[in-house]
C-alpha cells in the first residue's frame, strides 16, 4: 500500500503537480498497479544477472570526427523563450 504522502513525494521527484482530488484518485489507482506488479516478488532471482539491454555484442562506436551540426537559429526556433542566442530561464539565484 502507498499513502497519499508517498504519492506526493513521488510527484515532487517527478516534477508533477496534482490537485487534491487528483491525488486521491491517483493514490487508489497507484495502489492497484503496485499490487499487480507486486507478483514479481514471488519469483526467485537469486544469482540471476540483470539485463539492461538485449544487444549481446559490444555496441559499435563511430570515429570521433567533426561533422556539421544544426545551425543555432534552427535549434532555438522551438524554444518557448530565447534571448541573445540562448534559452531563456527565470532567475534562479537572488
Amino acid at each position: 500500500m502507498v499513502s497519499k504522502e508517498d504519492v506526493y513525494h513521488i510527484a515532487d521527484l517527478a516534477k508533477l503537480d496534482f490537485s487534491h482530488e487528483e491525488l486521491e484518485k491517483f493514490t487508489d489507482e497507484f495502489s492497484k498497479i503496485l499490487e499487480y506488479v507486486g507478483q514479481l516478488k514471488e519469483l526467485d532471482t537469486e544469482g540471476v544477472e540483470p539485463t539492461y539491454n538485449i544487444s549481446s555484442k559490444v555496441q559499435p562506436l563511430r570515429e570521433d570526427v567533426v561533422m556539421p551540426s544544426l545551425p543555432k537559429e534552427e535549434v532555438l526556433k522551438n524554444a518557448p523563450e530565447e534571448q541573445y542566442g540562448y534559452f531563456k530561464l527565470p532567475r534562479i539565484m537572488d
Partner: protein
C-alpha cells in the same frame, strides 16, 4: 481502376510500367483521405502539398528513365513520434503541439531516399502510452471496420490509415505491442523487427531498451517491402547492429517445408476468448498442412512478462520524459514565479493522465528504497524471460500464438488502467527478449479480425515473413 485498393507492390509495378502516374496514385489517396478522415481521424497532420510536389518529381524521374527507389511512388503514413524535418511532430501530446523538428529521423530519410511519398503524420496514444489510441490529445482514432470501436494502439492511426486505404503502407513504433495490437484490431499486417535492426535516431523515445520502429501493410509483402527500406545499420544509433540485411522479398516465397513451428503452451494458458483461440488453432493446422513441423516449446516465465514490462518501461520512460522541462522546446506554462514551478506547471498542464501515471510508476520504481525491490528485480526477471526465448529457439524456427486476448473493444469501454495493460499480455515478452514478431489476420469472428502472432529469433525476420506469406496465400484472401 481504384488505385487505393492496389497493394503497394502493385502500385510500384504499375507506376514503372507507365500504366499510372505517381500524381494519380497520390491524388487518389488524398481524395480517399478527404472522404474518410472526418470519421476515422487517423492523421494528426497531412502533407498533401509536399506529397503532390514529390509525386511530380518521381514522375519526372521516370520520364527521364532515371533509376527509382524501392518505394517509388508509394504513399506512406508516418507515426507522429517520428521526426520529420519542417513538419510538426507532436507525439499526440499538448506538450509538443507546436514542435517542428529541424531534422529527419533516419527512417524518414530512408523512405525519401527510396522515393516513397510521405502523405501525413498519424495519430497515436500520447507519447505511445496506451493500447487504444484513446489517450491522444487530438481525439481518438476510430477503427475503419466499425467506427464505434478502437483501432488498437499506440500506433492506431497508422493501422487505421492502412486499413482505410488512406495510405498503402505505414511506419509505427512498438515498445510492448504498439504495432502488433493495432495491426490485429484493424486486420492488417504489422511487423515489430528485432531490437537493433532499424535505427531509432529521430524517434521520440519511450523506453530505449524496448522501442523499435516497424511497418504496416495490407499484406505480408507490402509490410516486408517497407521493412526492407528502413532496415540496416545507422552510425547515429549505437544500438543499431552492423549486419547485412537479408533481401526479404527475394526469399519470402521460399515456402515452409520442414520449418519447425513451436506453440508455446503458456501462450494458450493466458485468458482469451474461445472463438479467437479456435481461429489460431485453425491457422496452426494450415501451417502443418503446408509442411511445417510442429514442436513443443515452453516459456515458463511468460506470466511475469506483463508486470515486468510495466516496471522496466515506466522506469525508462520516466527518465526519458524528464527532457520535457518547458525550457528548450515544447509547452511552457504562462504563470510561474520560480524554476521549480515552471517545471511542475509546464509538465502537469501538458501531459495527459496516462503519461503522468506511468511517469509516477517509473519514478517510484527507480526511487531510493524501491529500486532494488522493483527495477533491479524486473531486470533480473527480464534475463529469465530472454533465456526462455533462447531455449525455445533452439528447438523452433518460429513461435506462433495469438496477438491479443480480445477482439477490438468499444471506444470508452475500458477505463481501468490494469485492464487496459492486459491488452498487451501476448506481445510485451517479445520486446523484453528483443526478438522479432509480426501480427497478421488469420480469420474473422463476428466480423472482426483475429490477429495471429508469429515470433522469430533475433534478426531472423525472414523466417516469420516466409511463414506469414505461406499462411496468407493459403487462407485464400482473408481480407
Amino acid at each position: 481502376m481504384d488505385i487505393t485498393s492496389l497493394s503497394a507492390v502493385e502500385m510500384r509495378d504499375k507506376l514503372l510500367s507507365g500504366e499510372i502516374s505517381c500524381r494519380e496514385i497520390v491524388k487518389a489517396h488524398i481524395d480517399n483521405i478527404e472522404k474518410m478522415e472526418p470519421e476515422i481521424n487517423a492523421f494528426i497532420t497531412l502533407t498533401k502539398e509536399e506529397a503532390l510536389e514529390r509525386a511530380d518529381r518521381i514522375d519526372e524521374k521516370i520520364r527521364n528513365k532515371e533509376e527509382v527507389g524501392l518505394l517509388a511512388g508509394i504513399p506512406v503514413a508516418v507515426k507522429d513520434n517520428i521526426s520529420t524535418k519542417g513538419v510538426r511532430t507532436t507525439c499526440a501530446s499538448k506538450m509538443l503541439e507546436n514542435y517542428i523538428p529541424p531534422y529527419d529521423a533516419t527512417v524518414v530519410e530512408r523512405i525519401i531516399e527510396e522515393d516513397g511519398i510521405i502523405i501525413g503524420k498519424t495519430n497515436m496514444d500520447e507519447f505511445a502510452m496506451g493500447s487504444s489510441t484513446e489517450t491522444s490529445y487530438f481525439g481518438p482514432t476510430r477503427n475503419p471496420i466499425d467506427t464505434t470501436r478502437v483501432p488498437g494502439g499506440s500506433s492506431g492511426g497508422s493501422a487505421a490509415a492502412v486499413r482505410a486505404k488512406e495510405a498503402a503502407i505505414a511506419l509505427g513504433t512498438d515498445t510492448g505491442g504498439s504495432i502488433r495490437e493495432p495491426a490485429s484490431f484493424c486486420g492488417v499486417v504489422g511487423i515489430k523487427p528485432t531490437y537493433g535492426l532499424v535505427s531509432r535516431y529521430g524517434v521520440v523515445p519511450m523506453a530505449n531498451s524496448l522501442d523499435q520502429v516497424g511497418s504496416f501493410g495490407r499484406n505480408v509483402s507490402d509490410a516486408a517491402l517497407l521493412l526492407q527500406a528502413i532496415a540496416g545499420h545507422d552510425p547515429k544509433d549505437s544500438t543499431s547492429m552492423d549486419l547485412d540485411v537479408v533481401d526479404y522479398l527475394a526469399h519470402i516465397e521460399d515456402g515452409i517445408k520442414g520449418m519447425k513451428i513451436g506453440v508455446p503452451k503458456e501462450y494458450m494458458e493466458i485468458e482469451i476468448d474461445k472463438s479467437l483461440k479456435d481461429k489460431i488453432l485453425d491457422a496452426i493446422n494450415i501451417l502443418k498442412d503446408l509442411g511445417a513441423e510442429l514442436v513443443e516449446v515452453s516459456l515458463p516465465n511468460l506470466k511475469y512478462a506483463l508486470p515486468d514490462y510495466y516496471i522496466i518501461s515506466t522506469s525508462e520512460l520516466s527518465s526519458n520524459l524528464s527532457r520535457f522541462d518547458g525550457i528548450r522546446y515544447g509547452y511552457r506554462t504562462e504563470n510561474y514565479s520560480s524554476l521549480d514551478e515552471l517545471y511542475k506547471k509546464s509538465r502537469s498542464e501538458a501531459f495527459g493522465e496516462e503519461v503522468k501515471r506511468r511517469i509516477m510508476l517509473g519514478t517510484y520504481s527507480l526511487s531510493k528504497g524501491h529500486a532494488d525491490e522493483y527495477y533491479k528485480k524486473a531486470l533480473k526477471i527480464r534475463t529469465l524471460i530472454k533465456n526462455d526465448f533462447d531455449k525455445a529457439f533452439e528447438k523452433a524456427d518460429v513461435l506462433v500464438g495469438p496477438t491479443t486476448p480480445t477482439l477490438p473493444f468499444k471506444i470508452g469501454e475500458i477505463t481501468d488502467p490494469v485492464t487496459m495493460y492486459k491488452s498487451d499480455s501476448f506481445t510485451v515478452a517479445i520486446n523484453l527478449a528483443g526478438v522479432c514478431a509480426l501480427s497478421m489476420p488469420c480469420g474473422y469472428v463476428d466480423g472482426f479480425p483475429v490477429g495471429l502472432q508469429m515470433i522469430g529469433d533475433r534478426f531472423k525476420e525472414i523466417n516469420i515473413l516466409k511463414a506469414a506469406y505461406a499462411l496468407e496465400k493459403n487462407l485464400g484472401g482473408v481480407r
